[in-house]
Symmetry: C2
Subunit: 172 residues, 2 copies
Amino acid sequence: MTDSAAQLAPLPDFPDLESHVRPDDHQALRLWLRLLSCTNLIENEVRSRLRAQFNTTLPRFDMMAQLDRVPEGLKMSDLSRYMMVTNGNITGITDQLEKEGLVERVKVVNDRRSSLIRLTPAGKKAFAEMAAVHEQWIQTLFSDLPDTDRTTLHGLLGRLKSSIHSQLPSLA
Amino acid sequence: MTDSAAQLAPLPDFPDLESHVRPDDHQALRLWLRLLSCTNLIENEVRSRLRAQFNTTLPRFDMMAQLDRVPEGLKMSDLSRYMMVTNGNITGITDQLEKEGLVERVKVVNDRRSSLIRLTPAGKKAFAEMAAVHEQWIQTLFSDLPDTDRTTLHGLLGRLKSSIHSQLPSLA
DNA sequence: TATTGTTATACTCTATAACTATA
DNA sequence: TATAGTTATAGAGTATAACAATA
């Protein structure tokens, strides 16, 4: 693996937030604008495909993804933390998915305030179908990036994430 | 510069969308979840500070940033492309900023359908103050990442962005 | 016919805060 | 007192689509 990525020719000028970067902008700002452009590019595409092909939204998909990985279910406060949104929003998304029979609230015996949310069999099935297609989208969108570059990127973003969490301890 | 980033110990488990990655998830999906986590982490913080300290929003800030870099102004359709939102939304944000005296619509002679949007002197001043503080936030948030890592990251994200644009030519 | 911008609409996501029921 | 979840509210952002004016 090399550092050649840093020495490549300038990119073509795609129209986005990065378009008006100026020569005197500092490295961190340029990096942030590019990070934001990349993420928005992919996220918008994924949102639009989720809507078109599965009539769902990213938050709904994300919630089902979290639940799919914990078959016994998750408390709403856990979901709230993982999805980084407030409690009331989790109630709203849960209500939608419950009405469609994709998740269920399961009472727990030891604490009558809380319940576990988990996927129903129908929810598991629906999510499995979406997840397979979703993963294929992601594979394809990232497929031009060589394996080593993906690994490097993953590692560097891990450092960035740790560093930011240590600066914003309110989040951890 | 080395590839050491790829060989580091696993990250602490911060509660976010990445929390439930499974051993059999493929590299591209892991990378995408981490990219999304990092961006959301920073973006949420920036949104919240823009709200608290300047009583503004990210789209408003972004629009002023675009305009600040083109003193003669931009057409609304240009802004629409750069900000990757539809035309109606640009009208809405422009209306807000115009009412506050931060931008103005300037008629162009050769095409009476369109006008140029540009910052007013008050808008320039207000943006300059915000931009300086905003850049300081970004500098700080990225400051733990060594210079070489920032450069590598910038380069790799550039490759990713090009690759995605070439897959989604509708955007270019 | 195509393009620029506006308007109207509807929906989702979001935070905040007050509330309840339990612990 | 503190915690889990609900409800109500208000605001922002978004896409879609119909529209007027102009090219």
